[in-house]
Assembly symmetry: D2
């Protein structure tokens, strides 16, 4: 990469958690450089005020949103709340900029479904078809040539990667999938909120949105596509008193009549992900912990079949802000610009 | 109670978490008094060294195990590791003492099953039949007259209470129950252990013992009995980075052909637990958090049927050291001695 | 107390942390009853929505602020943000109600100093002289007869109690006191705030307001009064990633020429607090932890003189919401109404 | 560095926290390679079992301690408990290996003092004189040519760096220094211990070893040397419920007669550390948090003089396992082998 000019990247919404994480990754990226990072709230202030870890590494300051300035970038990451990216996606694409949207604006391909879950009409339904769902383990080739990438949600990343080999195997009952998922508080974003206050969420645990969560239609859409048929998924999120990390516990039953001994789950998973740089299948019997992926772009997976029975239990962990957001976005950028897929993403997790 | 002489209670194993919690509850109990509390490690030291919260409330000191002294008590709580209570249960019962065992020694009624899960022969299989499983919501009347109570495990309490109305309703498929449960670290007891060190377990989350946990046969035994037929339960425990608390997320599918609209889950649960002093069914749509039962003997329950589908999702929370151990043991003592069931157990939880 | 009619208590600002804690304590109080609890935000909702621990114990609902209704109470606790109590203190007192203010409105006796630290003129400076600073260990007799009690801040409680015997001994240099104090996040109140978000404050630690904190003039005023001369105190607060609890590490040097061997600090502290129901002096060599007072009205104290040198190091812990706020307010109420000082305040802390 | 052969490094005690952190840093180091890592407990097992974050990055396995194999390394890091390194330092140095000891064995230059604090005679007092105290900000040139480096303790690093400019300024009273320091639990090492169990240490806070801590003589020795005269330091450690991180709050009074306005503390600190790659002086008024250095080799410093008075308050934060242990050791290795001082140490911290 040393003889290439670094890719000029813009970030819209740089003072949220995913925006800050994009900044960290891009400042240290060998083939890209953050050229412009916007924040309505913090415009004018150096980014190191929010990210002291970058002191000495960058002089960048937050700026207001200026589409003509962003149009000078080769790629723009949109890390705003839902509903913003769809208002400027058209102009940016028209200006020849590639857009990676980390919000939910382009994740659902059905505009009516989007409206149903997000409570307003979609502003540019015409782009929904073109947007590529940015899960490289499924859509790598389409991402390479995409103008517009819908970066997956954090839960959908953990759930889809875990179910991928199960569904592709065609051996499992798709009508009774259960995803019992647990997320750290940073999944809710960087904002003042009583729900995720330390005084409220620490030393406690609870489920939430059991009756419906916006990531359910997104996951279902992707699993349907993988399966080539509708799946029936129960998706139950919980709030963990940790900062970063998602743990998905995924249940899938063998189809009736399928002999459990005919299928080697461990081999199935290892084979499926053998070439994947960011999916790590643990040895049989393992239990991944969320800290083992903290700060990294890795999804670790373990697969079990308790007491030799007919139900597979798949455990996956991701860092919701990296593989579940900013890291996956950079992985997508690498693919879109012909960089090595792992460029800028090889920090090892530290324990403890 | 004011004219009764307080019940003399002994505690074997008073320096573990359940023993310490028994002490806290008994020191403040209006109808009982801790007369003797043993600890091999701490013999001779005042109990307030471990429980500074009781400074000024009690002069009790830990003593060594002396069966003749314990035989002076009316009730003995055994809060030792598994395998100890079964060695002295016989002599204590013979001396006319009532025994409430908080270990697993008397929870399984089948001595061969016990040996299979606990790795040694049972020392007094003859008592297994007599022991009453101390879940008052199921066995209240038998507990009143029992000499020997097997106090339920923490997970079994949370899981059995949550499944109770479902199973009694006879409307659910008993072959595909899934209990995805999460426990704070105190469930592992008071001991030096790398697994539950703050440096290892804080700010992280993982599943464990996915391929088999000793609470599985216990839960299955009780659910089988409730159902009057064998159930098939998947039981998947996880380790929460919290001190106290269990959260069970329980899945149950309606039987094939059963119309979801024919069953009012909320009413079913409210009716079943209406008279229970320590089971609180939350309003429809609620998500109990573990902190709402911290330090208390309450089990809070919420029941959902996401998107009106055929699967019930039951959420239960207990404090593993209170309703899941010492509090339930005191509730059992109250029943066995004709005291008000709630005596000494009405501390409200504080938030935050 | 059984033949007295319970005292009717009102709470203004019942949905903050101190208001909620007052509710918990008053609902269980043997000699008082919460008759009215206001919350602008939650008016009309049952208090158990915020305090599930009180489900089954009270039917009370939040109401709007109605002075004529509050005037029916015998005592009103004001648990609002600073600046509110001073606007209705006059009318309530005129109506014959006793007022215990948990905000800072009546803590400083000098109206100009108040204005300097709180940024606006005081609304009823005439009441500042009458208000009694509600630290029973110092002002017990004056509290008994007070109409208006200024309940101390959480830091001032921990610092003043720790310095009390030192200052009274007249052996220490009052010009170089250093209070290095650490507080859990609930000290900031129940509100959405980025600073105390779990994602920001967990697994981290920092000092704050090193250059000036509003509790400094309050502490200084009280220590000056105790000493009968101006003291020079450095007060450095830090934010702990815990929910409840304050730990003060207090430094005081012997006066020049004072022989360290002439003073028995342990005896000094034990003697000073021997009759105090809520101050517990630990044995020599001890290190109190904040959890040992969690949920309780106790202040634990340990005193050291490292390596036999000339500097005393006093360690104190309090629960900022109990002895540092609501518990101390109830203690003051007990004194003001001739109830036993410990009434309703004897919950023991649980560990872990 | 690309044309140099990487330095062969050995690690003795690779399964403790500092050993694991050395492994993480060396596996990713551009100029060094871990050639051998010992662990008595884990000999034969791949290092990735303990460090899943390195899966795919290294095939190294733990081995038993074999001095002849270690003698093939150019540098050996000793990361064992105190008392081990002094038994093999001689042979390794004789074999031409450079030794960086992360234990306390070579930190005190006075063998009698060592014996007094560590409870046994020193095994090779003759090497104490030669050992260089590995704080690059003080001893950089001597480290470059050292054979034997005593890597500083975590507390001493945070305290000495913070006091350095104060002491060098000659304007402060050296007889009344107070270091109120707070450390996360990983400072106690990777071991099963009740004190640092999550159930015991989480959601709580306390001081410990107030009457004497082994880091006190180490700090005093270094400050004495800096000052050229004996200093009098009070050193009070506290246990934080966090995983990594030390926060030191350092107090120093101006000498009597010294006018506070004559000294610009901010400029003093900025000037002193301007050229230091791993000391970051924050802008005036700042409060560093421990998370801002998590996983990094940076020490952040802020300096205050509250209310313009005569006492400086210096705040420093380090990651006890990096700048306080393994990172500083790698920094020392870089100096000893003529590598860029920052090689392998430029990971930015992430927030949250």
């Amino acid at each position: 990469m040393s003889d290439m000019k670094p890719i000029k990247a813009g970030i819209i919404g740089g003072s949220g958690y995913t925006g800050m994480e994009l900044l960290r990754l891009l400042v240290c990226h060998p083939g890209a450089v953050p050229a412009c990072v916007t924040s309505t709230t913090h415009a004018g202030r150096p980014v190191t005020e929010l990210l002291p870890g970058l002191r000495g590494e960058t002089d960048l300051a937050f700026s207001g949103v200026d589409l003509s300035e962003l149009a000078q970038c080769q790629v723009v990451f949109s890390a705003t709340p839902n509903g913003a990216a769809m208002t400027y996606a058209g102009p940016l694409l028209d200006a020849g900029v590639k857009l990676i949207d980390l919000s939910a604006d382009f994740r659902l391909r059905d505009a009516r479904l989007w409206q149903q879950w997000y409570g307003r009409p979609h502003a540019c339904p015409g782009l929904l078809e073109e947007a590529v769902y940015g899960l490289p383990e499924v859509n790598r080739e389409r991402i390479r040539t995409a103008r517009l990438v819908a970066n997956p949600g954090c839960y959908p990343t953990a759930v889809c990667l875990g179910y991928l080999p199960l569904i592709e195997s065609r051996s499992f009952d798709l009508e009774h999938l259960i995803a019992d998922v647990k997320s750290g508080v940073s999944g809710a974003g960087r904002k003042a909120s009583l729900t995720t206050a330390l005084g409220e969420a620490a030393d406690s645990f609870k489920a939430y949105s059991v009756d419906g969560h916006r990531h359910w239609p997104e996951i279902t859409q992707e699993l349907n596509q993988l399966a080539g048929q509708p799946v029936d998924l129960l998706f139950i999120p919980h709030l963990l008193p940790i900062i970063r990390g998602i743990h998905a516990t995924l249940y899938g039953r063998l189809k009736p009549g399928q002999n459990p001994h005919d299928i080697d789950l461990q081999a199935l998973y290892e084979r499926r992900f053998a070439a994947e740089p960011f999916v790590d299948v643990l040895p049989a019997g393992a239990h991944p912990d969320t800290r083992s992926v903290r700060g990294t772009n890795v999804c670790r997976v373990a697969v079990h079949r308790p007491r030799g029975g007919g139900t597979a239990v798949v455990l996956t962990v991701v860092d919701n802000l990296v593989k579940g957001a900013a890291g996956q976005a950079v992985q997508n950028m690498n693919l879109m610009f012909g960089l090595p897929e792992i460029a800028g993403l090889k920090y090892p997790a530290f324990v403890p």
